[in-house]
């Protein structure tokens, strides 16, 4: 193993002198994700909060038909504005989030004690308008219920007659688990960090070494090729783990700047998360290093290797998407599947849930086995004559 260590130390020294690799590993890889994330969440959150707190501007058509309703809405901090001529068109063209239309027959129905109809014009597919619609619906329903209750009382009946069943909601989510749902994409950023951190190294140690014609002299040394490869894979793994660690630290700092408390959420990336996260990520980083090196070894040139590894970057997105689109209950066997195991474990860590140590060990061992398999396959390629020839 001494030769592997020599190769490792030399690769680390050489690559630390390469600005592009260092920037990729230490800056771009770990910081891009958190930066984008913080900006995105911050914008989203402050918009939502702004909407919830600011008075809702509501265009109303036919406000004169229902002065009492309008007054009740005003008390809910809804600002009544004159309605547009064509409500449907105003909504379609996003001039208004929602328009309230009160037909002239409203007063007549009301006075007769019949159900008086009002119309809400909105577009369900406009995400931006959803909170305004919910707020208005809530205000209208509240008004209806209050009025209904008063009418029942006036007839000597208890308002509970109208409510044979009362639903009391007992939400089991915790501030942390609510944030886990929102931040479900975070594990992907860590896995992506591992890929980006190792990419330059994986190419440099195979296609790069061949392209600059240094592989043939290297292989003329009295060292088994498996050891040279082991040293190179260790370097790739070390760089990709550095990226993962920095990425986690960056998220840990970034999470302090997110207005998560205002959403009733809690994103805590502390030491416990770092320790457990790095534990499950280590074998994955080794596995990805092996796969990247394998792919790069097949490529004829540096550029070709870059293209293939770029495509490989999308592979870890698959479990993320599956888990987002089909949120299923994590079953024990899933920890045994590399990538998926890490994805589930990291998500649960973020949600503040306890993952039992059996599952973590299973995740670690299975991914390690996969990494070893990748190493042996890559070593086979590394021993082939074709690899060595610089041409």
């Amino acid at each position: 193993m001494k030769s592997a260590l020599i190769v490792f130390l030399k690769e680390v020294r050489e690559n630390l002198r390469d600005k592009r690799t260092v920037i990729n590993t230490l800056i771009t890889g770990p910081l891009m994700g958190p930066l984008i994330f913080v900006m995105l969440i911050n914008t989203m959150v402050s918009r939502e909060l702004e909407k919830a707190e600011a008075p809702l501007k509501l265009p109303v058509i036919g406000a004169e038909h229902a002065p009492n309703l309008i007054e009740a809405l005003r008390q809910q901090r809804i600002e009544i504005q004159p309605g547009p001529a064509d409500a449907e068109r105003a909504v379609r063209e996003q001039d208004a989030d929602v328009v309230l239309r009160i037909p002239p027959r409203y007063a007549e129905s009301w006075n007769k004690g019949e159900a008086a109809q009002v119309e809400l014009v909105f577009d369900e597919s406009q995400r931006d308008a959803q909170s305004a619609v919910r707020r208005l619906q809530g205000a209208l329903e509240g008004y209806g219920q209050r009025t209904g209750a008063l009418r029942l009382l006036a007839r000597g009946l208890s308002p509970s007659v109208m409510k044979p069943v009362v639903v009391a909601e007992r939400d089991q989510s915790t501030p942390q688990s609510r944030s886990g749902q929102m931040f479900g994409i975070l594990p992907y950023f860590f896995i992506l960090g591992a890929l980006i951190g190792g990419m330059a190294l994986a190419i440099d140690t195979t296609a790069g070494e061949r392209e600059r014609q240094s592989l043939e002299p290297l292989l003329a040394n009295p060292v088994p090729r498996g050891q040279i490869l082991a040293g190179k894979l260790a370097t790739t793994t070390a760089f990709s783990m550095t990226t993962v660690l920095l990425s986690m630290l960056a998220f840990s700092i970034a999470s302090r700047f997110l207005p998560t408390d205002k959403l009733g959420m809690d994103l805590h990336i502390g030491l416990g998360f770092l320790a457990r996260g790095l534990f499950v990520m280590l074998p994955l980083a080794a596995l990805l290093a092996g796969l990247q090196t394998m792919v790069a070894a097949f490529a004829k040139s540096y550029r070709e290797a870059q293209t293939w590894l770029g495509l490989l970057t999308f592979v870890p997105a698959i479990p993320t998407m599956l888990l987002t689109v089909l949120p299923f209950k994590p079953l024990p066997w899933m920890y045994a599947v590399p990538l998926m195991g890490q994805q589930i474990a990291l998500t649960r860590f973020l949600r503040g849930e306890v993952v039992n140590s059996d599952a973590l060990v299973l995740c670690f061992v299975c991914t390690t086995l996969a990494a070893l398999a990748a190493y042996f396959v890559t070593a086979r390629i590394y021993r082939s004559e074709r690899l060595a020839i610089s041409a």
């Binding site: 020599i6 030399k10 020294r13 050489e14 240094s214 043939e216 002299p217 003329a220 088994p224 004559e385």
Partner: protein
């Protein structure tokens, strides 16, 4: 001493099959310079690659100091100093670091590496570049570094693939003097070339290869006598059957 016995090497299969080496045998002795001469594509590089175990021959045997390359490739590589056709350096390491890396891979300790590097740097007159990063080195400076790197473990046998390729006149002269020095130290020096003048000026023994076969294995004088040509150039052309791919 390097012994090559009936070496065969083919690439590909079926219709794309290329026979690169087709029964090459020769011996390179200690204290002699042996030249492998042949036109481009004659199979010189492939032969040498089989010698330093980068490739495995389909059949035949390679013995270096009596060790079978197929049986113990690591021992063979340990007793060889190799300057391959590809001589890329690590451009973000200095010349000295490049040399030290190979010394470490040969299992040398730091003191030995320091001593050998200093000696090589002096012998190759590369003091001025020794502690510079190799990025931007001239062709000559690169070859010097690659040679110092290949000889850091003080090998008994030295294999050089087209060592003067791409060198200017001064660097070529220095290289030839260096090869003679290696010979005088009692080493077995084997190099390939497609330049007749060079082979004629340096070699104690010339192995002429064409189409993957040895067509002559003699001293320069014997070669002239064998072909009946007084001029070596004419002798070569007569042996190879064509002057294509040879340079004077």
């Amino acid at each position: 001493m390097i012994e090559v016995k009936d070496l065969h090497k083919t690439f590909g299969s079926g219709t794309k099959k290329v026979v690169a080496v087709d029964g090459v045998s020769f011996t390179a002795r200690d204290g002699e310079i042996t030249g492998l001469l042949g036109p481009n594509g004659a199979g010189k590089t492939t032969t040498l690659r089989c010698l330093y175990t980068l490739m495995q021959p389909n059949s035949g045997q390679v013995l270096v100091d009596g060790i079978d390359a197929a049986a113990d490739p690591l021992a063979v590589r340990r007793s060889l100093g190799v300057l391959p056709d590809a001589r890329g350096l690590y451009k973000r390491l200095t010349a000295r670091e490049n040399i030290a890396y190979f010394g470490q891979l040969h299992g040398l300790d730091d003191a030995t590496i320091r001593m050998r590097s200093d000696a090589a740097i002096r012998a190759l007159e590369m003091d001025d570049i020794a502690d510079r990063r190799t990025e931007g080195f001239s062709q000559g400076q690169r070859v010097k570094t690659a040679i110092a790197r290949a000889l850091v473990h003080d090998p008994k046998n030295v294999i050089l693939d087209e060592p003067t390729n791409g060198l200017d006149v001064m660097a070529t002269r220095a290289m030839r003097a260096f090869l003679k020095q290696l010979k005088n130290e009692g080493r077995c020096v084997l190099f390939s070339s497609h330049i007749m003048q060079e082979v004629a000026a340096l070699c104690d023994r010339i192995v002429v290869i064409a189409h993957g076969r040895v067509v002559a294995d003699e001293s320069p004088d014997a070669l002239r006598a064998q072909t009946g040509e007084a001029n070596l150039e004419d002798a070569f052309v007569k042996l190879i059957g064509t002057d294509e791919g040879l340079a004077a």
